[in-house]
Amino acid sequence: MEIVVCVKQVPDTETRIKIDPAGKGIVREGIEYVVNPYDEFAIEEALVLKEKHGGKVTVITAGPDRAVDALRTALAMGADEAIHIQASQEDAVDSIGAAEVMARALKEIPFDIILCGKQAVDDDNAAFAPALAEFLGLPHVTVVTGLEVDPEAGEAQVVREIEGAQEHITTSLPAVIAAQKGLNEPRYPALRGIMQAKRKKIPVSTLADLGLEGETLPARTEVLSMMPPPPREGGEKYEGEPEETVARLIKALQAEKLV
């Protein structure tokens, strides 16, 4: 089976994000990047499929130089091949553009199934999987928590999460599957895997190679402004002797009807 996983590198979820002075993007300096957590479920599922049905797992990303680290993480977990499409994406929050690029790249390689995360935790668009499927003319299932593939029949049984229930779906293959938390437990890469990943040569292609112009992922949207959430109110501080401050505190709590 030819299994493809699309991954995205995103700021570490523990990063404290700062808005840049222009107010249209974030300050990139000092940010640590990780593989989008939902993509990790997709990678793990691809490895499980390979272990069950044989075949090959190829991971692919479109992003700047640093994005190659996301590919190495996937290789360390056990993916066989990686493809890096060089593209800056610093200010793009446009999943459609990313999907278009990815669709062009995927036309060049064979695949039986395409996996990705249900959304990237940086822009939270959740539009990439459906858009990719649309560009490729394939069916897609999103928010997936269960997957059984029957390569002979060219079909997959998919479980997806919906409000308060589960949906069981049969889809023909190839299809685009977008992973949700709960699909599996991503593995801790073995030392040998990490070393092999470090040494692997990863082919790079440019947007021009894919017949696109420019160096940035094509965008159909534009960020007008970005704002941090309003800061939390400072609260109140009572100073003085305990007898007095406690009495004031109790009064304040009663006034708010909290006690």
Partner: protein, 430 residues
């Protein structure tokens, strides 16, 4: 079958990377294992990096390394009884390239330093903890990590795993940490706009200040507090002997909050935002607590070997140079194909011939002396402040009488005690 390397380094701090640079640079096949997310992610340093030792590893590093500010002025503050006596030095040479020292943020610097070892061909593996050394009899032959299929073999293992070095302890090369031989340090990075920093510290863009403070700065503990200017932040910290911290039931956090609250400090950091807070140990045992530095197929470097000169806040330089020596000894052993203990002893010989062991020996009596005589930190900084203040107070008192008053202040512990203290301090420091 586990993969075999010529050399494995545990820990990607300054010591470990220096060793890896030397080994990989000579063509050895080297792996560095680091438990942090990336080199530097777990490392704490108040942040002064010295140029000369760093250049021994990467010549002209200052042209490309992520440095904060050159240190163009150093100040010493004696604090007590609400007074501060400040002694400063702005040496002409400090202001010129190549500078004597720089402030750095380790999270950035270590990552860059490690990238130099990668350029030389070393394999740096992060987010991987070394659990123990693999041994055959009394020879170290590799390491075991916390990862699946996590064993690696090597002719020589360099332990650069920092002050706690569990690995050196497991090999019985080192004793348990003693509270009277390590300092508890707490550090914060506080962000401030560059313009504010330059105004408050009276410097230009591209200049930096280091301040060392004793006395009330550490609440009289044997130790120091410090403030270093970064580009758009300030590193501030306090370190005191763990024993003193424990005796007086001080929490590390109380120490730094006390220092930050002192008026001269408060003004420098006002309006800044705390970005990071870290607590860490600093080995201060010096010469007396040196571990066994080599064994069959193994060497211990940097903080793991307790190579720190606390009095002069030199740690990263000793770490780098000890790592360099160990790396060189490993390369010679590799060329001879002999990794026996005797072969690796070359590392110890190099250390002994260098400033590292010489300085640690020179100061070996200093720490126990100051521990026995805590008034050097608790009382004298305050006395100096009061004496200088008296001297500067114009109040109609004739100068001869003034002089007598000043001596009265300085003789608070008794005239002979003062002379004896000064003589003894001179003896342990000379």
């Amino acid at each position: 079958m586990a993969e075999k390397f010529d050399g494995i380094v545990v820990g990607a701090g300054p010591a470990g990377i220096a060793a890896a640079l030397r080994m990989a640079g000579a063509g050895m096949k080297v792996a560095v294992i680091e438990r942090g997310e990336y080199p530097g992610s777990k490392n704490v340093m108040g942040g002064i990096l010295y140029r000369q030792p760093t250049e021994e590893l990467v010549p002209r590093f200052y042209e490309e390394a992520p440095l904060e500010r050159p240190i163009t002025e150093s100040r010493l503050w004696l604090m007590g009884d609400g007074n501060v006596v400040s002694i400063g030095c702005r040496a002409a040479a400090f202001a010129e390239e190549p500078h004597n020292a720089y402030s750095v943020l380790r999270a950035k610097f270590d990552q860059w330093f490690a990238s130099k070892a990668v350029e030389k061909g070393a394999l740096v593996l992060c987010e991987t903890v070394v659990r123990d050394c693999l041994t055959e009899g009394d020879r170290v032959v590799g390491i075991r990590t916390d990862r699946p299929q996590g064993e690696l073999l090597a002719d020589v293992v360099v332990l650069a795993d920092g002050v706690n070095s569990l690995l050196a302890r497991e090999l019985d090369m080192r004793e348990e940490i003693r509270p009277d031989r390590v300092a508890q340090a707490v550090k914060e990075v506080i962000s401030l706009p560059p313009g504010k920093i330059e105004d408050r510290f009276n410097i230009e863009r591209g200049e930096g200040v280091s301040i060392e403070a004793i006395g009330d700065a550490t609440r009289g503990l044997v130790g120091t507090a410090w403030i270093y200017t970064n580009r758009d932040s300030i590193s501030i910290g306090v370190g005191g002997l763990l024993e003193g911290v424990g005796h007086r039931r001080l929490r590390p956090n109380d120490l730094i909050e006390h220092f930050k609250g002192l008026p001269p400090v408060r003004r420098l950091i006002e309006g800044g935002k705390t970005e990071e807070y870290l607590a860490h140990l600093i080995p201060e045992g010096g010469y007396r607590s040196l571990p066994r530095l080599v064994g069959k197929g193994v060497m211990v470097v940097g903080d793991a070997a307790m190579l720190v000169n606390g009095l002069h806040r030199e740690g990263s330089n000793m770490a780098m140079i000890s790592g360099k020596f160990a790396g060189e000894a490993a390369v010679e052993a590799w060329k001879r194909g002999d990794f026996s203990r005797r072969s690796l002893e070359a590392y110890v010989d190099k250390l002994k011939d260098s400033f590292i062991i010489k300085d640690l020996k020179k100061y070996s009596r200093a720490l126990p002396f100051f521990e026995r005589n805590p008034h050097f930190f608790r009382l004298y900084p305050g006395l100096v402040g009061r004496a200088v203040a008296e001297f500067l107070t114009v109040d109609g008192v004739p100068k001869r009488e003034k002089q007598a008053r000043i001596f009265d202040i300085l003789y608070e512990r008794g005239r002979w005690n003062l002379y004896r203290d000064l003589y003894n301090a001179w003896r342990v420091l000379r």
